[in-house]
């Protein structure tokens, strides 16, 4: 069963990697979008970021798929469940 991990915090939780299974996806929302700019981190794939959260902070993320709120809903339906990391 696949999980959509939705991250809201500016820190990467130490336990995210341990809860990760093949088929899972990571969505950066809120303050977590800045993690995509950190050169020291390798974030799991597939990786998405909420366009609104990125643009509101004046950021430019080239390596990440930016999605709308409607895409977010669609992303949730493509996974068996979602896990909010706040």
């Amino acid at each position: 069963m696949t999980t959509l991990h939705i991250l809201f915090t500016a820190e990467l939780p130490e336990s995210l990697a341990r809860l990760w299974s093949t088929g899972d996806s990571l969505l950066l929302a809120g303050a977590s979008v800045t993690l995509a700019l950190r050169p020291d981190l390798s974030l799991p794939q597939p990786l998405y970021a909420l366009a609104e959260a990125v643009q509101a902070r004046g950021l430019k993320l080239d390596q990440v798929a930016l999605i709308s709120s409607a895409d977010w809903v669609e992303l949730i339906t493509r996974h068996d469940k979602s896990l909010s990391w706040s």
């Binding site: 999980t3 130490e14 336990s15 341990r18 809860l19 299974s21 068996d80 469940k81 979602s82």
Partner: protein
């Protein structure tokens, strides 16, 4: 319905740990199959010898010890979270299943819904 609750916050800093406990007891009362994973700072919730009255709060360890009475007996601890904090199962107030490596992800993959607080 298999619901996994992930207790990820230290006790007493705020009300989150208490709210998670309240939520999972309600789920169990309505017949859900409840599992609890203590992870990250949440492993401190299981540490024995707490005296919440010093902070004007009920002791969380005493409440958690009642979980098996409410048929919540699938209790898990992330071994990685325990070890990085210098804790062992001997420090914990309840018998728990220690999950190593891929076992943690397998627990999440096997449940229908998950709530992390």
């Amino acid at each position: 319905m298999r619901i996994l609750y992930i207790a990820a916050r230290a006790p007493y800093s705020n009300d989150t740990a208490q709210e998670l406990l309240d939520a999972l007891l309600v789920s169990a009362a309505f017949g859900a199959e409840v599992s609890v994973l203590f992870q990250d700072e949440g492993v401190w919730q299981l540490h024995g010898g707490q005296n919440g009255s010093l902070l004007g709060r009920p002791s969380l360890d005493a409440q958690l010890q009642a979980l098996p009475l409410y048929d919540v007996d699938q209790l898990f601890v992330d071994a990685g979270s325990l070890h990085t904090r210098g804790l062992t199962v001997n420090d914990l107030i309840l018998p728990v299943d220690l999950l190593q490596g891929a076992q943690v992800a397998a627990l999440l993959a096997g449940c229908d819904q998950v709530i992390r607080l």
